[in-house]
């Protein structure tokens, strides 16, 4: 290479090339800057409105305000579920601050042990950024103020006041009302009411069971919002009350239940397992629906520990099961009215006497009456009063299962009623058709099936609600009453239960069966005479006892043995209505594994609950306080409570009636 700068042409050539190319690159630069300008114009002039909106949605945040959850009240306005203030501690996570150290700092002010911190950290992992997580609920005022004073040094921490659900009557309504609990990921849906952002609010609770679940949307109310200006971390800079949207509280749900009856019913259940249902025989309103043992729904609101949950779930008396609706039991002798109505409908003469020698050899086995010594010749009235099994074995065998099934369905067996809350199990009402389609391994209906069917065993099961409905329909004497649990929602009355068709039985037959029930409780030889005396003057109760076997005894074991393990004892049932002249209330009591004889465990409890119900009724009260008409004859022994005043304990000499 020579010395290029010496040659003028060379220099010129290089300079020329440079100038041409510099124009080109300059052009590129200009074009680039123009492109930037064009892009700016596009963003800032054409799309400005769109970005202004986005900017405003960055700057202004609507902080969701959960509406107060609607109240649940009983028929008299007594509050069954309400809300109370709750100081809680919320922490949000963002990209900048890890929640771990924040929790460690907070542990100086509120009790947060290592295990709880670890649980919270897992929860933080599941939660999206900027969605607060509740670190602690129900702080004391001291803790609340300690956190609030230090708020400036604690980024992403807020202590605020929310509301928490509270059930003032503890477990009395746990199964009916259910409870609310934190929202699970499974609760969230893409669309519909469960897609709303309020569900992510840490204070939000969703109805889990019973009324809380069935009327969740009514109880929720409408979410409000507070307009605030926030910075990128989501911290509030200013608030703008003018832009607030007020929250609309949830609707009030009024139940037909009566708090006094309900609470007394749970009390009388004591340690027993079972259900008590009280129903108005005229309107169909349910005044009491108790399942025992119960649980404290308030604990579910706070969130159960695993140990607590296991304790409830593993207890053999199953507190979490609603025995009034979801537990189905053989109705036992309480089914005999149904068999009787079916027999009357099928043309059986009620005056026909069937001899009860205490046992009956049929189909290769001996069918026993509960009274091994036998009742002697029985007509239908006596058979119900004495709860004679032999009579009903014969009648059931004669009329067959389909008559019985028709009568059972008319009285409410095998049905789920529209009472507004989910969870009813219908039980079984056996018939030839049913067995043919449902029992795969033995589809043929055998005569022996009819025999046990007649006394409410075998292919017949019912829940407590169905038994109460049956009793109320019998007591009402005309209508196929439907039960009603929800009286009104947000002030709108729900349809009453007495808008129903008539029962498909003749008045004569119904009167006959009811008279037999009166005899059960008021004839001195009735199976539940002693346990059915209300002590309310001429306000008398009619009923029917029942025992349901949980295992086949077949004459092997002693049914009456008190040494039998709890889980193998018979279920003890009683259905009743009162007063006998103008029936007002019907009751069904199931004592799971209560032992032999409906009168021992179930009837005294039914009597006490019935007394409470009757004494609350102004009509009945007026009747009781009036002077009694002069007694004309004294063929009845004195009526009243046990000498020690206890109404619960079975009478000491209470026999063994079924």
């Amino acid at each position: 290479m020579s010395e290029p700068s010496i040659f003028f042409s060379e220099v010129n050539e290089r300079q020329g090339a440079f100038h041409r190319r510099s124009f080109l690159l300059g052009g590129f630069a200009g074009a680039g800057l123009l492109a930037l300008g064009g892009r700016l114009a596009h963003l800032q002039l054409l799309e400005a409105q769109r970005y202004e909106k986005l900017s405003a949605s960055n700057q202004f945040n609507f902080r969701l305000v959960p509406p107060p959850r609607g109240l649940i009240v009983d028929r008299n306005g007594e509050v069954l579920a309400t809300n109370r203030p709750n100081f809680r501690l919320l922490v949000v996570k963002d990209g900048e601050h890890e929640p771990g150290p924040t929790l460690k700092t907070l542990a100086h002010f509120v009790p947060l042990d290592e295990a709880r911190q670890a649980r919270l950290l897992r929860e933080f992992e599941r939660t999206p950024n900027r969605v607060p997580v509740s670190v602690m609920e129900d702080m004391t005022w001291e803790q609340f103020s300690a956190i609030n004073i230090r708020a400036p040094e604690l980024p992403n921490v807020t202590a605020d006041m929310g509301e928490v659900r509270v059930y003032p009557h503890g477990g009395a309504f746990a199964h009916v009302i259910g409870y609310v609990a934190k929202v699970n990921r499974e609760d969230l849906t893409e669309t519909g009411p469960n897609s709303e952002p309020i569900l992510l609010h840490p204070g939000f609770r969703i109805g889990r069971q019973g009324v809380e679940r069935a009327f969740d949307l009514d109880l929720r109310g409408r979410t409000g919002a507070r307009k605030v200006e926030v910075d990128a971390r989501g911290r509030e800079v200013r608030s703008d009350p003018g832009g607030d949207i007020p929250a609309v509280p949830g609707k009030t749900v009024e139940l037909t239940l009566d708090v006094d009856i309900q609470k007394r019913a749970l009390e009388v259940m004591d340690d027993e397992s079972g259900a008590i249902v009280v129903m108005d025989c005229r309107s169909g309103d349910l005044l009491c629906m108790v399942s025992a043992p119960s649980f404290d729904a308030n604990r579910f609101v706070r969130g159960l520990s695993v140990a607590e949950y296991r304790a409830l779930a593993d207890y053999e008396r199953r507190p979490l099961l609603d025995k009034a609706m979801s537990g189905t039991y053989p109705p036992g002798s309480t089914f005999k009215m149904t068999t009787a109505l079916a027999a009357l409908g099928a043309g059986v003469n009620p005056d026909e006497r069937i001899n009860c020698p205490g046992g009956w050899r049929f189909g290769g086995r001996t069918w026993r009456c509960w009274r091994h010594s036998g009742h002697g010749p029985q007509n239908m009235h006596e058979a119900i009063k004495n709860s004679c099994d032999i009579y009903f074995y014969h009648v059931a065998l004669r009329i067959g299962p389909d008559h019985i099934a028709r009568a059972a369905k008319a009285l409410g067996f095998g049905l789920a009623f529209d009472i507004g809350i989910p969870g009813q199990r219908t039980g079984v009402v056996g018939s030839t058709e049913w067995k043919r389609t449902r029992v795969k391994r033995d589809p043929k209906w055998h005569p022996g099936d009819s025999v046990s069917y007649g006394i409410g065993q075998g292919y017949i099961t019912a829940n407590g609600l169905q038994l109460a409905v049956m009793t109320a329909r019998l007591a009402n004497g005309r209508k196929q009453l439907n039960p009603r649990l929800i009286k009104s929602v947000g002030g709108v009355e729900m349809p009453p239960g007495d808008k129903a068709p008539n029962l498909p039985f003749s008045q004569e037959h119904l009167d006959y069966v009811r008279a037999a029930m009166v005899a059960v409780a008021n004839d001195t030889r009735g199976t539940a005479f002693r346990q059915s005396q209300l002590g309310l003057g001429d306000v008398l109760m009619a009923g029917k006892t029942g025992t349901a076997q949980v295992r086949s005894f077949d004459g092997v074991a002693d049914r009456d043995s008190r040494s039998v393990r709890w889980g193998l004892k018979d279920h003890n049932l009683y259905v009743a209505f009162a007063p006998i002249d103008k029936p007002r209330y019907a009751i069904s009591v199931i004592i799971q594994h209560g032992g032999l004889g409906g009168a021992t465990a179930a009837a005294p409890r039914a009597r006490e609950v019935m007394r409470v119900a009757l004494l609350k009724d102004p009509e009945i009260r007026a009747r009781i306080t009036q002077p009694l008409p002069l007694p004309d004859v004294s063929d009845l022994p004195p009526v009243g409570m046990a000498p020690d005043g206890s109404v619960l304990a079975p009478s000491p000499d209470g026999g063994d009636p079924v």
């Binding site: 290479m1 060379e10 190319r21 510099s22 963003l43 800032q44 769109r50 202004e52 986005l54």
Partner: protein, 384 residues
């Protein structure tokens, strides 16, 4: 001062005369831009000189004096130091490779006791000087297409590869594009340029898929679809676009930009300061600033074309190319047209190293301007 006075022998070498020959319009434009930067930093700090605005002005002042001082250096000095500066830069890059500080997964810093700095910054000026020095010594034909061109190719490739390995893809690209600009300006054959463009276009997808680091690939993917991940890595671009767009024609007013004031905008005082400006002063403010940049680039290119020496031309044009690339890349990034790469807006963004590099570059341009008539004769060939 008249032209005749300047023709007196030795007159041009007098310091006072050199001082008057500085392009003061250009210097004023630089001051204006730095002032705008400081103004925005004052705003985003909540009307406070602390911690950025005052420091920015101070740094600019120091660098401005440095620029004037550098402008006094004769082009021959620049010429003589061209290869040594490039060599030192390369040596420092090699040193970084072996003993550099690793911060945030990238080895870019060299600790020299009282301060640490990025040798890649030295290279931004070094590559321009070395290439200008090289092309000064070869003929137009050789510059068009010859085996000599392997030398500039190697000169560019060495620092680019070293910087890319740190990894600092943004700076590597900047150096590569600056070098390419000088090579093109020096008169590279169009056929070669065409071939290079085509092979580059073909290489990009391969680079993205196989050579890039995971975080780099993520940035590219985020750029292609920022709404996909609005609170993660797409956050920067989205928030920046919101800031720009919501500014509208007139802006939200000084100190009233909600995006920057409430910290929605990331890096609001450094890489994304242009978005802050756009939010508070709107399209009009941005257009004015872009016009100021355009004017600066135009003045610098004019300075380059007025230079008598090929070295001066190429050096000034190379610096201009670097500066232009800074502006275009940062602008495109802020406006959501390019992936988020750590390229600041020169003069506006807060940051000492960049300010120093940029002002040294402008010192070189001013030096070319002051010594535009000087013939650099000491170079007799490409290397000697």
């Amino acid at each position: 001062m008249t032209m005749s006075a300047l023709r007196r022998p030795g007159e041009r070498d007098r310091l006072v005369v050199k001082f008057t020959q500085i392009d003061w319009t250009m210097a004023f434009a630089l001051c204006l831009l730095a002032g705008v930067g400081s103004l925005m930093m004052f705003s985003v700090a909540g009307s406070s000189w602390e911690p950025w605005a005052g420091q920015h002005l101070f740094r600019f002042g120091v660098c401005f004096v440095l620029m004037i001082a550098l402008a006094m250096f004769d082009l021959r000095v620049w010429f003589a130091l061209a290869y040594p500066i490039y060599g030192i830069g390369l040596a420092l890059l090699l040193a970084v490779e072996f003993v550099g500080d690793t911060r945030m997964g990238a080895t870019r810093w060299l600790d020299i006791g009282f301060m640490s700095f990025q040798p890649s910054e030295v290279m931004k000026v070094g590559i321009v000087l070395a290439l200008a020095r090289f092309y000064h010594g070869i003929s137009a034909d050789d510059a068009r297409l010859s085996w000599w061109l392997l030398v500039p190719a190697a000169m560019i490739a060495a620092p680019v590869l070293l910087v890319a390995h740190q990894p600092d893809l943004g700076t590597a690209m900047l150096i590569a594009m600056t070098g390419a600009a000088v090579v093109v300006l020096a008169g590279l054959s169009w056929k070669v340029i065409g071939a290079a463009v085509i092979s580059f276009a073909a290489a990009v997808p391969i680079m993205v898929l196989f050579v890039m680091h995971e975080y780099q690939r993520k940035r590219v993917m985020t750029f292609l679809n920022p709404e996909n991940d609005p609170s993660g890595s797409g956050y920067h671009i989205l928030q920046s676009k919101i800031a720009l767009g919501s500014g509208g024609l007139f802006g939200k007013g000084y100190g009233l930009g909600s995006q920057s004031q409430l910290n929605f905008l990331p890096e609001k005082h450094t890489d994304f300061i242009f978005a802050t400006l756009a939010e508070e002063f709107g399209f009009l403010g941005c257009a004015l600033v872009l016009a100021l940049f355009a004017a600066l680039i135009f003045m610098a290119m004019r300075t380059a074309s007025l230079a008598h020496s090929h070295f001066g031309r190429l050096a000034a044009a190379g610096v201009t190319a670097t500066f232009t690339l800074y502006v275009l890349i940062n602008g495109a990034m802020v406006m959501g047209l390019a992936p988020v790469v750590g390229v600041p807006m020169p003069l506006l963004s807060y940051g000492g190293t960049v300010m120093l590099t940029v002002m040294i570059g402008w010192g070189l341009v001013q030096s070319v301007r002051v010594h535009r008539y000087s013939e650099v004769t000491s170079g007799k060939g490409a290397f000697v």
